[in-house]
Amino acid sequence: MTHLLPPEFFTATVPLHAYLILSAILFAIGACGFLFRKNIITVYMCIELMLNAVNLSFVTFSYQFGKVDGQIYSFFVMVVAAAEAAVGLAIILTIFRNRNTLQIDEIDTLKN
């Protein structure tokens, strides 16, 4: 079936900045979600989305420089995200137990 497709099809390449722009788009969407959603867990998931976008850009740069360092950073980001997820969800559990709500806007006593 491959001879039905034009030859450039198999040798065309994706420019690098496409990956970076994709990463920027994902980051912006994550930031939007963070600003607009009211459920704590959803907000937390938007944070995870932002972290993933950054991971993508790290790996892209690692490809560009031809070294593996960017991937190492990405690895550490993942580890930290895991630890953070554990602790963050534990905090959310505690908040839910104490205030019986998952709306961020209702947790505002630390004000003024």
Partner: protein, 166 residues
């Protein structure tokens, strides 16, 4: 081939992200996020980062997202309600992110217009051997420190989430 794969999985990622933001119920958001992560794992593979792709699938979507789903179900989180506060965020949110996006794109395209294109298989240094080598020689100290970090996180999570003993 690269182009098709890239376009397809990029679209999946974007649709998943938008759905994450727009869905009402947290479970739907969580599943959208899983789809984004899987798409990203494929993109990592295209970039030659095999180890990271595998780690993404195993750690991120396999462990972290599962944890998220557990907590959502545990807390029985329902759909969101309306709120009157947060006016500033709702007012500024879209414009700011739009500006950010536009800026980032222009900067990237202007400064990286002569970077080499991405071809599957062009980067061979992403395998476990190479990553492990760097990890245990140059980045040994951060590696050890992160292990301690995980330990602390475990202890913290246990302390925070336990029930009171009366």
């Amino acid at each position: 081939m690269d182009v098709i794969l890239f376009t397809f999985f990029a679209l999946v990622a974007i649709v998943g992200a938008v759905s994450l933001v727009l869905q009402k119920h947290p479970i739907s958001s969580a599943l959208s996020l899983v789809s984004v992560m899987v798409a990203l794992a494929v993109l990592f593979l295209l970039l030659g980062a095999e180890f990271i792709a595998a780690a993404q699938l195993v750690v991120y979507s396999g462990a972290i997202m599962v944890l998220f789903v557990f907590v959502i179900m545990l807390l029985n989180a329902g759909a969101e309600r309306e709120s009157r506060k947060g006016g500033l965020a709702q007012f500024l949110g879209l414009p700011l992110t739009a500006i950010l996006l536009v800026f980032a794109s222009t900067v990237i395209t202007q400064s990286m217009s002569n970077a080499k294109a991405v071809k599957f298989g062009a980067f061979a240094g992403g395998g476990p051997r190479e990553v492990g080598w760097e990890l245990f020689t140059r980045y040994l100290l951060p590696f050890e420190v992160t292990s301690i970090l995980i330990l602390i996180a475990i202890a913290g999570a246990v302390v925070l989430a336990r029930k009171e003993i009366d």
